[in-house]
Symmetry: C3
Subunit: 156 residues, 3 copies
Amino acid sequence: MGAVDERLAELGLVLPPVAAPAGSYLPALRSGSLVFTAGQLPFVDGRLPSTGKVGEGHGLVAPADAQALAATCVLNGLAAAATVLDSLDDVVRVVKVTGFVASDPGFSGQPGVVNGASELLAEIFGEAGRHARSAVGVAVLPLDSPVEVELVLEVR
Amino acid sequence: MGAVDERLAELGLVLPPVAAPAGSYLPALRSGSLVFTAGQLPFVDGRLPSTGKVGEGHGLVAPADAQALAATCVLNGLAAAATVLDSLDDVVRVVKVTGFVASDPGFSGQPGVVNGASELLAEIFGEAGRHARSAVGVAVLPLDSPVEVELVLEVR
Amino acid sequence: MGAVDERLAELGLVLPPVAAPAGSYLPALRSGSLVFTAGQLPFVDGRLPSTGKVGEGHGLVAPADAQALAATCVLNGLAAAATVLDSLDDVVRVVKVTGFVASDPGFSGQPGVVNGASELLAEIFGEAGRHARSAVGVAVLPLDSPVEVELVLEVR
């Protein structure tokens, strides 16, 4: 059991099975020392726990819920990355996180939502989990997912 | 004639002239072993075959049409990449595709649209054409284009 | 004083202090020969000069104003990059610019807005400032910022 797997266990987390891509692409790919994951949706056991736009108000996905979904995206992204690595212990550092948040036009709290991804990466990888990041509010995401997160990792 | 050009001919495709950038930037650029293309619009002979948002319903661009436009973006992207390569035979593999779909808020079929890009890359490059991918639904794209696709390629 | 700093001074520009990240991430990070900046908002002295969606019409941020904000994002991005470099003179070239424009659905002039970023990079770095670029119109950006720009730089 690798150090990252142990750390996940300490956090009460288990790497999920790799989510089937929603189209004709790979879950992750290595080029040189970088691993690029596909944009990850917050699938749990093959389904999205919730759908819709994030915002404050009736019929919207609450920001705190979306933050938890962003963390789920990270777990799926690490599972994807693991398919092209011997072990997640080969991750030298997290380089870049891009978080897309399907947003009600009046909602501008995307950074808080994407913190769900960023903070989990820091919990798992420590200092090596800190990364550059963009958070963006988009009109709508695949399958009406509230969030989508892609990762770029530096690996050995 | 290179192998990729022959494959394009087999598919009945011709690499178009490079679309003039819509702003102050380069169609593509090489850094180390990676080529980054600019975001490609589905120009054909200098104009967009259609404009507007993708979705189901009157006044919207039909998803099947948008899928074909995403394939056109790929051709334009390969033409852009060719400007910084001796030949497209120098492409080792497609690394990353990002597909932006100008989406009606009720449309969540972005993966199907961006499959138009992914499937053409697989047809042209075979296994080397398979890639990590993000598909995102955005509010509006430059010149009211229904789709925009950017490519990252690994080259020799 | 480095050559880039001198060039900035000639242009009447000063590198601002690094904007505090709006979440749990780093302003910029180096991996190999690439520097990735976080998505930059157009902060000036810790606040956004304007907020809202870009477009033509009452209550919208005028495209010309948004273009100036995109240039401010670049200054903040260079300040972020400088935190992981000895000097901005270590920038070999600008590789990739991604410009997100919070857009009124009827506004499709994103390339003109993001030219504010691209043209400033060319003014500062000359030929080495020319880059591949994507411009995208999104629903809403963090803190209701009208624009967000991220940079990928090749460094020595």
